[in-house]
C-alpha cells in the first residue's frame, strides 16, 4: 500500500509516494534521483548507504521510508552546495582520498555526522567511528588524513 511521506533532503522539502516499508536508500536513488548514496549489501554490513537523519548517521538500506517522515536527511550531494564545497569534500579532493570511490559518500556522511557533533576528535576516534564502513580499495589511510584535515578546518581536531 502506497503512502506519501514528506521529509527534507539537503534542506529541500520532498515527498515520496511509495510503500512506507521501502528502504530510504531505494527512495533516494530511484524516486528522488539522488544516487551518491549507494547500495553495497542491503544488510547494514558495509556502510555504502550511510546518510544522516536528524544529525545521526544511519544505514539507509534498512531504514524504512516511513521512519524519516518530517525529518532532515543529508546525503553526499549536499556537500557540494551553491556556496562552495563543504570542508570534508575539499579535503577528500585535496588528498585524492579514494580509488574507485564507491564507498566514499557513505564515509563522508558518517564523518560529517561525527564532526558536526562538535566534540574534539583524533585520528583513532575517527577510525573507530568508521568501523561500520568498509573500503575494499584500501584507501583508508588517505581517507583518515582527509577527515582529520576537515576536522582541523572545522575546529574539532584535538
Amino acid at each position: 500500500m502506497a503512502d506519501t511521506v514528506a521529509f527534507t533532503v539537503n534542506g529541500k522539502a520532498v515527498e515520496v509516494t511509495a510503500d512506507p516499508g521501502l528502504p530510504l536508500l531505494s527512495a533516494l536513488r530511484e524516486d528522488l534521483g539522488l544516487k551518491s548514496t549507494r547500495f553495497g549489501c542491503g544488510s547494514e554490513g558495509c556502510g555504502a548507504c550511510t546518510v544522516i537523519v536528524d544529525g545521526t548517521a544511519r544505514f539507509s538500506c534498512t531504514l524504512p521510508l516511513a521512519d524519516v517522515a518530517g525529518q532532515e536527511v543529508r546525503t553526499a550531494e549536499g556537500l557540494a552546495g551553491p556556496d562552495g564545497d563543504h570542508p570534508l569534500l575539499t579535503a577528500f579532493l585535496d588528498h585524492q582520498a579514494g580509488q574507485c570511490g564507491y564507498c566514499l559518500p557513505g564515509i563522508l556522511m558518517r564523518a560529517r555526522a561525527l564532526l558536526d557533533r562538535g566534540e574534539p576528535v583524533d585520528r583513532a576516534r575517527v577510525a573507530q567511528e568508521l568501523d561500520g564502513n568498509l573500503c575494499r580499495c584500501g584507501a583508508h589511510a588517505r581517507i583518515l588524513d582527509a577527515i582529520m584535515d576537515a576536522a582541523r578546518e572545522m575546529g574539532v581536531a584535538t
Binding site: R38, C46, Y102, G138, A139
Partner: protein
C-alpha cells in the same frame, strides 16, 4: 619506438584512432578502463606532456567497442606499460605532424619550434599558431609509428588531480546509477554451483504474477526476472528465491586443500637448473597454503543491456570490452558488430570479477523486453556466491644453504587455474553462457603461460641468485570457479618463499637484510632492500616480546616492479599490524601520488587477505552471503604506512598495485615468525593459528 609495438597500436594504428582536435584542445581515446586506479589521470598527463597543453584542455574517452582502440584487457598492471606507451606514441605523432605543418606555414625548421600551453613558439616568440588549430589542417589518418618521437617527460609531483574523483564523491558515475528513459530492473537467481540445475518442471506463472513483474526469463538453467521498479524486482526475487530448489549439486568436501592434495594431475617442471639440485637434504622444507579469496568489491557487479533493431548495447564495468563483446556474440549467436559494449565505471576492480558474467545476465534478461534498457545489479549474496574466486593454493618450498647464502631452491606449486576470462584459450568463459539451453562449454582452463607472467606459478622463481627448480601441478577439475585476483599465484608463492628464506636465515642467526643481500645479485632489488632498511630505521631494533617486525621482497612476475615491505606487528588479544614501510622501484613514475595510492591500497588489501580472509564453503557451494561471513580489514585495523618510490626516469613504467601483495603478506608472516621462532604456514594468520604453531613447535 621499441621494436615490439604496444598491442593497442596493432589494432588502432592511426593517429586519429587516439587523438583528434577538439575546440582549443584535444579529445583523446584510450582502450584502458578506468577501474578506480587513476589510469585515466595518468593517461591525460602523458597526452598533456606530448601535446604541450594543460590537462584541462583535454577530454578522454574510455573503452567502447563502438569508438575506442582495442587494447584487450585492462589487467596485470600493464595499463601504463602498454596503454601509456601507445597513447604517448600517438599524441607525440600528432605533435610532430602539427609542428611540421607549422614549419611549412612559417617557412622554418620544425626543430626551431616549441609548444607552450598549446601555442607554437619560434625561438621563444609566439607565432600565433596553436596545436589544436594546426591539427584541424593536417591529415591525422596516418600511422602512429611513422611519426612518433616521444619527448619523455619531467616529473611534476604537484599535479595529482584525478578528474573523475568529484563525481565519485558526490555524484552518480557508476553503471549502477544509469537510469535512461524506459528503464526496467533485472534480478537473477544464482545457482549454488555452476553444476546445479533447475527442476525441469518449474512453474514460472506465480513469479510472473507478482506485482510489478514484467517478465520471468528461463533459458536452460539460467533464471531471472524483469520488473518495473527496483523495489518490485527485489520483493519478487526474494519471494521466489525462498521457493526455489536447485538440483544436482556435486558432493565434495568443504576443504579444497584435501582435493588439491589428492589430485593426480601431473607436477610439471617449468624450470630446471642445469646442474640439478644438491643431493643433500634441504635445510628448509615448508608448505604454505591459502584459502579461496573473494574479490568482494564494495558494490556488487552490475550491467545494463538494451536490445534494439540494430542489435545489443551493453554498459559494463568489464576490464575488457572487446573480449566481452566477442564472447557474448558467440553465446547469443550474433555477429560481433551487432553488439556494442561501452565501459562504464564500477566499484574497485582487483582482477577478473563478476563484471563480465553480469553483463551477459543483463543481456539475457533484456532480450525478453526489446527496446527497454534493463539494469541488473547482483545482490550481495549473488556476488559472494557466483563471482569468480581467487584460487586456493599450496606452495611447497625447499631451500639449500651454503656459507650463509642460498645455494639452491625447489618451489612446487599446486593450484587451480588463475585465468578464466572471456577469450582465455579461445573459450567463452561466461557463467550464464554455460547454463543456457545448448550453451557454450566451460572447459577446464589452462594456466597462464610464462610470457604472461604465469598464473599459478607467478613469482615461483625466487628472486635470489641460486639455481631453482620450479614446478606446478594444475588442478583444473575443482567445482569452484576461479579466475584472476590481484597478483594471482604471486601472493602465496612470495609468501611461501620468503617464509622459507626467513626460516633459513633465522636458523643461521643471520639478519633479515644482510642475510638476503648475501644471496642477491639483482642490483635494483638490492637498492630496494637498502632503501627499505633506511625508511624502516625507526622500527628496526624496537622489538619487544609482544612486538616484532619482518620483511618480504619480490620482483613482481620476475620482470616488473621490485617491492620490499616491512611490517610491524603487535600480538595482544588479536594480531595487529601497526606500522608498514614499503620501498618500490616501479621504473618511470608518471603519477607519483597515484602510484602511492595504488601501493597503499595493494598493501591494505594484502594485509586483509593475510589476517582475515577465507571464503567459507559448504561443499560445492560458497557459503558466504553477507559481510558477516567474509570479514575484511576495518578502519581501526589499518596500519600507518610510509612508501618510498624509487624513480627511474630512463626505464619503462610498471604497475604497482599488485607488486606489493606478496611482499606485504610475507612481511607479516615473517614478523610473526621472528616473534615466536617458528613459521606460520596457513593463511589467514590468526591468533589461534599462532598459538597452534607455538604449541606444535
Amino acid at each position: 619506438m621499441s621494436a615490439k609495438l604496444p598491442p593497442g597500436l596493432e589494432t588502432a594504428p592511426l593517429v586519429s584512432d587516439w587523438v583528434r582536435p577538439d575546440g582549443d584542445g584535444f579529445a583523446v581515446r584510450t582502450g584502458r578502463a578506468e577501474l578506480g586506479q587513476g589510469v585515466q589521470a595518468a593517461m591525460l598527463r602523458i597526452a598533456a606532456w606530448e601535446l604541450g597543453l594543460p590537462v584541462e584542455r583535454l577530454t578522454i574517452t574510455g573503452p567502447d567497442t563502438g569508438a575506442s582502440p582495442n587494447e584487450g584487457v585492462t589487467a596485470g598492471s600493464l595499463s601504463m606499460t602498454q596503454g601509456g606507451a601507445a597513447l604517448r606514441a600517438a599524441t607525440s605523432a600528432a605533435r610532430v605532424l602539427c609542428l611540421a605543418e607549422a614549419g611549412r606555414q612559417l617557412n622554418t625548421e620544425a626543430g626551431r619550434l616549441a609548444v607552450i600551453d598549446g601555442a607554437v613558439l619560434e625561438a621563444g616568440v609566439d607565432t600565433g599558431l596553436t596545436l589544436p588549430v594546426l591539427a584541424t589542417r593536417v591529415d591525422l589518418d596516418v600511422p602512429v609509428v611513422d611519426h612518433a618521437a616521444p619527448l619523455g617527460q619531467p616529473l611534476d609531483a604537484d599535479d595529482t588531480s584525478r578528474h573523475d574523483l568529484r563525481a565519485r564523491l558526490t555524484g552518480a558515475p557508476f553503471v549502477h546509477d544509469l537510469s535512461p528513459e524506459g528503464l526496467l530492473h533485472g534480478r537473477v537467481f544464482a545457482p549454488p554451483s555452476m553444476a546445479a540445475r533447475l527442476p525441469d518442471a518449474l512453474d514460472l506463472a506465480p513469479l510472473e504474477a507478482r506485482p510489478g513483474v514484467v517478465a520471468a526469463v528461463r533459458d536452460g538453467n539460467f533464471l531471472g526476472l524483469v520488473a518495473e521498479t527496483s523495489a518490485a524486482a527485489d520483493s519478487a526475487a526474494a519471494w521466489f528465491e525462498a521457493r526455489l530448489e536447485w538440483e544436482g549439486l556435486p558432493i565434495v568436501p568443504s576443504d579444497p586443500h584435501s582435493l588439491l592434495e589428492a589430485s593426480t594431475a601431473e607436477m610439471e617442471q617449468l624450470e630446471v637448473p642445469e646442474a640439478g639440485l644438491p643431493s643433500s637434504e634441504p635445510v628448509i622444507d615448508i608448505t604454505c597454503r591459502r584459502p579461496f579469496l573473494s574479490h568482494a568489491p564494495m558494490g556488487p557487479s552490475a550491467a545494463m543491456a538494451q536490445w534494439g533493431d540494430d542489435g545489443l548495447t551493453v554498459w559494463s564495468h568489464s576490464q575488457g570490452v572487446y573480449p566481452l563483446r566477442d564472447a557474448m556474440a558467440r553465446v547469443l549467436d550474433l555477429p560481433q558488430d551487432a553488439i556494442r559494449v561501452i565501459h562504464t565505471p564500477g566499484p574497485g576492480c582487483y582482477g577478473h570479477n563478476g563484471a563480465d558474467d553480469v553483463a551477459l545476465d543483463a543481456a539475457l534478461l533484456a532480450r525478453a523486453v526489446p527496446g527497454h534498457p534493463v539494469r541488473l545489479v547482483w545482490s550481495r549474496a549473488t556476488e559472494f556466491r557466483t563471482a569468480p574466486l581467487g584460487a586456493a593454493m599450496a606452495t611447497r618450498v625447499r631451500l639449500w644453504m651454503e656459507d650463509g647464502h642460498l645455494s639452491a631452491a625447489r618451489v612446487s606449486v599446486t593450484s587451480p587455474p588463475h585465468s578464466t576470462r572471456p577469450g582465455t584459450a579461445g573459450h567463452v568463459y561466461l557463467r550464464a553462457g554455460a547454463m543456457i539451453e545448448g550453451g557454450t562449454p566451460f572447459p577446464p582452463a589452462p594456466d597462464l603461460p610464462a610470457n604472461r607472467g604465469n598464473g599459478a606459478a607467478r613469482n615461483a622463481r625466487p628472486i635470489y641468485a641460486a639455481p631453482a627448480l620450479v614446478e606446478r601441478k594444475l588442478v583444473d577439475d575443482l567445482p569452484w570457479r576461479t579466475s584472476a585476483l590481484r597478483a594471482l599465484g604471486g601472493q602465496l608463492n612470495v609468501f611461501a618463499i620468503e617464509t622459507g628464506v626467513e626460516a633459513a636465515l633465522m636458523a643461521e642467526g643471520l639478519d633479515p637484510f644482510d642475510g638476503r643481500l648475501a644471496s642477491l645479485e639483482d642490483t635494483r632489488a638490492r637498492t630496494v632492500l637498502e632503501k627499505l632498511r633506511e625508511i624502516g630505521a625507526d622500527i628496526i631494533g624496537t622489538e619487544e616480546p609482544d612486538r616484532s617486525w619482518g620483511i618480504g621482497l619480490a620482483r613482481y612476475k620476475n620482470v616488473a616492479a621490485w617491492a620490499g615491505v616491512l611490517a610491524e606487528i603487535e600480538l595482544g588479544d588479536d594480531i595487529r599490524v601497526t606500522r608498514v614501510r614499503a620501498a618500490v622501484d616501479t621504473g618511470e613514475v608518471i603519477h607519483p601520488d597515484g602510484a602511492r595510492n595504488q601501493i597503499e591500497g595493494g598493501i591494505i588489501q594484502a594485509l586483509s587477505w593475510t589476517l582475515k580472509e577465507a571464503v567459507p564453503l559448504d561443499g560445492a557451494r560458497v557459503a558466504a552471503e553477507s559481510w558477516e561471513d567474509y570479514p575484511i580489514l576495518r578502519f581501526s585495523e589499518v596500519p600507518q604506512i610510509e612508501t618510498a618510490l624509487i624513480h627511474r626516469p630512463e626505464d619503462p613504467p610498471y604497475g604497482c598495485a599488485e607488486a606489493v601483495a606478496g611482499p606485504a603478506s610475507a612481511a607479516v608472516g615473517n614478523a610473526v615468525q621472528r616473534m615466536i621462532g617458528v613459521p606460520i604456514r596457513d593463511l589467514p594468520i590468526t591468533r589461534e593459528r599462532i598459538i597452534a604453531a607455538v604449541s606444535e613447535a
